[in-house]
Amino acid sequence: MAGAFWCVVEDDRQGQPKKVTAELIGEAQRWASELGATVEAVWLTDRASPEGLAQLGHWGAGRVWLWEDPALAPYRGEVWTPAIAALAGTEAPRAIWGAVTSRHREFMARLAARLGVGLSADCVAFSRADGQLQATRPVYAGKLLAHVRWQKTPWVATLRPNVFRAADADPGRTAAVERQTLATKAAVLSFVERREEAQTGLPELTEADIVVSGGRGLRGPENFALLEDLARVLGAAVGASRAAVDAGWRPHRFQVGQTGRTISPKLYIGCGISGAIQHLAGMRTSKVICAVNKDPEAPIFKIADFGVVGDLFEVVPLLAEEFRKLKQHA
């Protein structure tokens, strides 16, 4: 069976692919080499920097299908979908993968409907069953894992960031760039404006390697400053539990959990968070989980790799101090 693995590029809107794109390419390479296929990147953007294009090659994309057109930003499903669907019709890729980001989640769903194929969103693993690819995805607040299979190709999926091993960059590898022309530019969606969120100076929650999160135990919005201080030392993002968000202490975009963001950082530090199921749904795939809570019975200790039973108002500043010392020695 011919057909490449297509990885849809997620970029920083400034012409540079994001880290999650390297994760898509890395995982695609693994299966492509097993199934005797190639890996190609698909990039729809208003600007692709030469460095960004080179980067895709270094990561291992053999070819980059590039649509570069002002009409592609910001993302509009009605403009993106026909472009890639038409090329998929002639190229017959074996898989089309995107990232779990707000726009890719919608785009990949729309694309799967256009192509009449199955969509597996928010995948955390792939495996092989009967020569076919099978995906694994968390369901029911992460209480269960579902193994799913597509009836036919292309296998359309979105992959959770920070879960898959990123492709190594090899400057010896290059990609052939195939520039495409955008057929559909007009859309009934007309862009009005973008309102930027207040900058925190900290990384984006879903992309951060380390996340420090706070809950009801913080007692008030002003005490998030403690977590921000710790986060600054670690280069971490700051998240919040539903209790803290519903109390109005943090905007909803910081919420980690079933009705918030799903994250998989390398290190998660939950402070004053009891660990309700709805919160665990958003962070249980983190690699190392730490919890600071004064209640030794808090459910979060059941899934924590390291639990500190203590007063976060004492422990968190001490942790920040210890990490700071460590950084100075390094």
Binding site: S102, Y140, L145, A146, V309
Partner: protein, 262 residues
């Protein structure tokens, strides 16, 4: 103007979910069922549109669900909140349908209902696929905006201004109706049904629909669940107690040396 809200009945988050003897299904015993929380934001928004436009431009709000008999309770909740009537697509052939299958059935319902606006949650909290709104839009050839935080329909009812949440900000669009919006948390605060609403809901219409009546046979299963599996337990962790200075120092050392997390 007509607004259709798509809702799904799902297990309550706090409920225990186990795999049944058929490894592709969950064991339904003892499960508490609720309207998926994101769908409640969609219902609330539809009711606010109705209230805002008032008697000058009467808005009919219709809730639609796909599901077995028990799903009627979800529709009843919507009616109690203030939805005018409901449609229940209740057909055994829907069992195991994927998002595209569900979207195909909903598209057939919407072709009959011809609403100006469709609202649904950005994802249902059972399978968390988050695809039906966008796939429905694709099948109907309508525009769709996902993770919507705010909307304002123009006075003449022809257009809607929509703010959708994206990483790092809010993107605002103007779009002509009909269109599909998927609700994100933060859009509004859903109301609780009043006693009067609950009593009134009993008299409101819930129309039962079979696939044949929509001109459909069993929807395809382009994506198939082959197996559900309980999450492998995490190995027990290490609990640090005692003097905060010592525990902080030990935690940082362990993160650095034992698990190399930093």
């Amino acid at each position: 103007m007509k607004v259709v809200v798509l809702v799904k009945q799902v297990p309550d988050t706090a409920t225990q979910v186990k795999v049944s003897s058929d490894p592709r299904l969950i064991d339904a015993t003892g499960i508490t069922w609720i309207v998926s929380p994101y769908d409640e934001f969609a219902v609330e928004e539809a009711l606010r549109i109705k209230e805002k436009r008032g008697a000058g431009d009467p808005v009919e709000v219709v809730a639609v669900t796909l599901g077995p008999d028990r799903a009627k309770e979800a529709l009843r909740s919507c009616l109690a909140m203030g939805v005018d009537r409901a449609i229940h697509v209740n057909d055994p052939a829907l069992e195991g349908a994927d998002t595209l299958g569900a979207a195909t059935v909903l598209a057939a319902v919407l072709k009959e209902e011809r609403p100006a606006l469709v609202l649904c949650g950005r994802q249902a909290i059972d399978d968390d696929m988050g695809a039906v709104g966008a796939q429905l839009a694709e099948l109907l050839g309508w525009p769709c905006l996902s993770w919507v935080m705010e909307e304002a329909i123009s006075e003449d009812g022809a257009r809607v201004r929509v703010g959708r949440q994206v990483e790092g900000g809010l993107e605002v669009f103007d779009v002509s109706l009909p269109c599909i919006l998927t609700a994100q948390k933060g859009m509004n605060e859903p109301r609780y049904p009043t006693l009067k609403g609950i009593m009134g809901a009993k008299k409101k219409e819930i129309k039962d629909v079979k696939l044949a009546a929509l001109g459909l046979s069993a929807p395809g299963r382009e994506l198939e669940v082959t197996q559900l599996q309980a999450l492998p337990p995490r190995p027990p962790g290490r609990i640090l107690t005692g003097d905060p200075k010592d525990t902080a120092r030990e935690l940082v050392r362990a993160l650095r040396e034992d698990v190399k997390a930093i």
